[in-house]
Subunit: 383 residues, 2 copies
């Protein structure tokens, strides 16, 4: 493949200046027709592809929005081995699309509509990864992740001073900073769920499943506890306490070295262990899971051990991902408006990239209780 031709090459071949070449492309109507044609012709002839880097440099600002995704592979850790096909295989809703995927899709759709392209970057392993990615975009949307470790999150504090950043699902953190936030109404959703479980199913002994290090999960847990208290009920059992390491998604500049040497935190593994250890002989009235994925993995495990849902015990999820509707039993869960969250984030980034206001906005989107078979509200129609 040949060296990429440049404006100079095109200019020479077309017998014009580089300025004219640039204009021919960017301001077609400010160039005489014949000239423009000559330039375009020369460009085609040379296979000229303008360097995005050079352009971005010269103009300052690329029309690109970034999405800090994270390693989806570890997401399936709580699933039974069969579900973890490494390569291809039939579509499995337990693996895709998940929460992140739906949010990402909304983000992409909005960007598409507003003429922006999307830059998807890996789970950052070092602070450098973060700055490198941030340096390529006009704004960055970030999912919470185990990146809270090793100072990766801390760097965001620094980055946000020059690049607009919106944090997904990071409620509960000091909102008095430059970060923008987009989150779901965990509180309202969790309360509605508990109200249903208690008032309608007379559930009293609940067990909560989920790593409280995740801001979202923590919010849900708190709301659940409070809503139970309101009814004079005891807080839910929560077998998983906050991990010793810095909280998932925590982005405060905490002592990095403390967690630097830790093995990658893996709440999936923790959850998996707990699910496996659950006592089948002493079941609560309901397992209230912090996410649909956890609920699904739990049901799978319970079923395997002869416990039937919802006959023997109620199980609820949270998120409302596709799998919660197409697997059986369908999940009683709280749906987050994922696509909307993605779209909102993109919108904020686009606006903010221009206004450059200093303080962060927070948008909380409504959630909705969705009744399914796993609480006994719908009859199970198929296996």
């Amino acid at each position: 493949m040949a060296r990429r031709p440049t404006v100079y090459d095109v200019a020479k071949l077309a017998g014009v200046s580089t300025a004219t070449v640039s204009f021919a492309f960017r301001r077609p109507d400010e160039v005489r027709d014949s000239t423009r044609e000559a330039v375009l012709q020369a460009a085609r002839e040379l296979g000229y592809v303008p360097s995005g880097a050079a352009r971005g440099l010269a103009r300052g600002g690329t029309g690109v929005l970034g999405l800090q995704s994270f390693d989806l592979l570890t997401e399936s850790d709580i699933l039974s081995p069969e579900a973890q096909h490494p390569n291809d295989g039939p579509p499995d809703p337990r693996v895709f699309p998940l929460y992140v995927d739906e949010v990402q899709r909304g983000f992409e759709l909005e960007c598409r509509q507003r003429g922006r392209s999307v830059h998807i970057s890996n789970d950052p392993r070092t602070p450098q990864d973060v700055t490198d990615h941030a340096g390529r975009v006009d704004g960055l949307a970030v999912f919470p992740s185990r990146a809270g470790l090793s100072g990766v999150a801390g760097v965001l504090e620094s980055v946000v001073r020059t690049v607009p950043i919106v944090l997904f699902s990071m409620g509960g953190v000091s909102a008095d900073d430059a970060f923008h936030r987009v989150q779901a109404d965990n509180d309202g959703g969790a309360r509605a769920l508990i109200a249903h479980l208690v008032d309608h199913h007379d559930a009293r002994r609940l067990t909560f499943l989920g790593d409280l290090a995740a801001p979202d999960y923590q919010e849900r847990f708190t709301a659940i506890t409070d809503e139970l208290a309101t009814r004079g009920l005891a807080p839910p059992a929560a077998p998983l306490t906050t991990s010793p390491h810095t909280a998932t998604g925590d982005h405060t500049a905490t002592d990095d070295t403390a967690s630097e040497g830790l093995p990658a935190a893996n709440d999936a593994a923790d959850i998996a262990a707990i699910i496996t250890d659950i006592s089948v002989t002493d079941l609560p009235d309901a397992f209230v899971c912090a996410s649909d994925q956890i609920a699904i993995a739990l049901i799978e495990q319970l079923t395997r051990r002869g416990v039937s849902v919802p006959a023997d015990v109620i199980v609820t999820g949270f998120d409302g991902i596709l799998a919660s509707r197409v697997l059986h039993p369908t999940l009683t869960t709280v749906r987050q408006p994922m696509a909307d969250m993605g779209r909102t984030a993109a919108r904020i980034l686009i606006e903010e990239a221009e206004k450059r206001s200093g303080s962060g906005r927070t948008v909380i989107l409504p959630t909705a209780l969705v009744l399914g078979e796993s609480c006994g509200c719908e009859s199970i129609t198929a296996a």
Copy 2:
């Protein structure tokens, strides 16, 4: 938000040269510890985020791979109005994830694994859009699309001379060029499907549904026709003939002006019209659809008009998207290894970005017949 600090700012604050700043980041071990610390400290203090553009320019080559996606919105055109929620709503497998989404996911996963980030660009509307996007990446993967219109596809011929490009699902086109191709074994899959329909269900009168302008669809149609001929049967009826405009995904440099003024081709609309017009009184033995989406829309329409599948007529799909497994009746279809296709494309691009060999590779991945309820092979368990 402050002006983005540059190397110069950091250099000055740290009391070193810009070269040292650069080294401190990119070659940490070639800089004295104390110096490096000073630089890092200064950088943090300033909220320094290195410009990706500048870096890309200076080094030539960004670690980014591009994916030319296309406007998913029009994809749902053949669905009943209810399915076309503009914003959020419960997850609907008829809308997501589709073929492109699964391929995209594979592409992303592979990139993630190989340390590349992904640049997702919109459906190009002008040749410029194509070059602009191509100019930002080290390699580009492209889906077939209506972009064949208005010369958008033609420009790829020019672009491929300087940027590695892999074409998805574009079989049947002259393979003697610089394009790399990743496609599914349409021929084998279609033949297996026909063999099943004819040998097992004794189907003889078939109707094919799908715009033959799509290379994939054309391949399937040809294989179907041939396989039927092999059995001494008549070719399938194909109510939709090739559109008058340049073929979808066609990237040969055809006369642009001819199609320039045309309204955006919309095979979805064509299909929708045909589906609506289908005579309920003169049904074939089976409707062999070019894609799962078409099959699903068809079944929806048939059901609405009192025709039951598979009791009254058999319907088959192609692709094996998630919806084909979770809706009822489940589809008898041919599955493409979508994630693998995406991964393969990424792999090719990464390798090729280095080797820069001149000629294109073509990889054909295997397909697999999947039996479902829509041909009567499985009993329908739920509505």
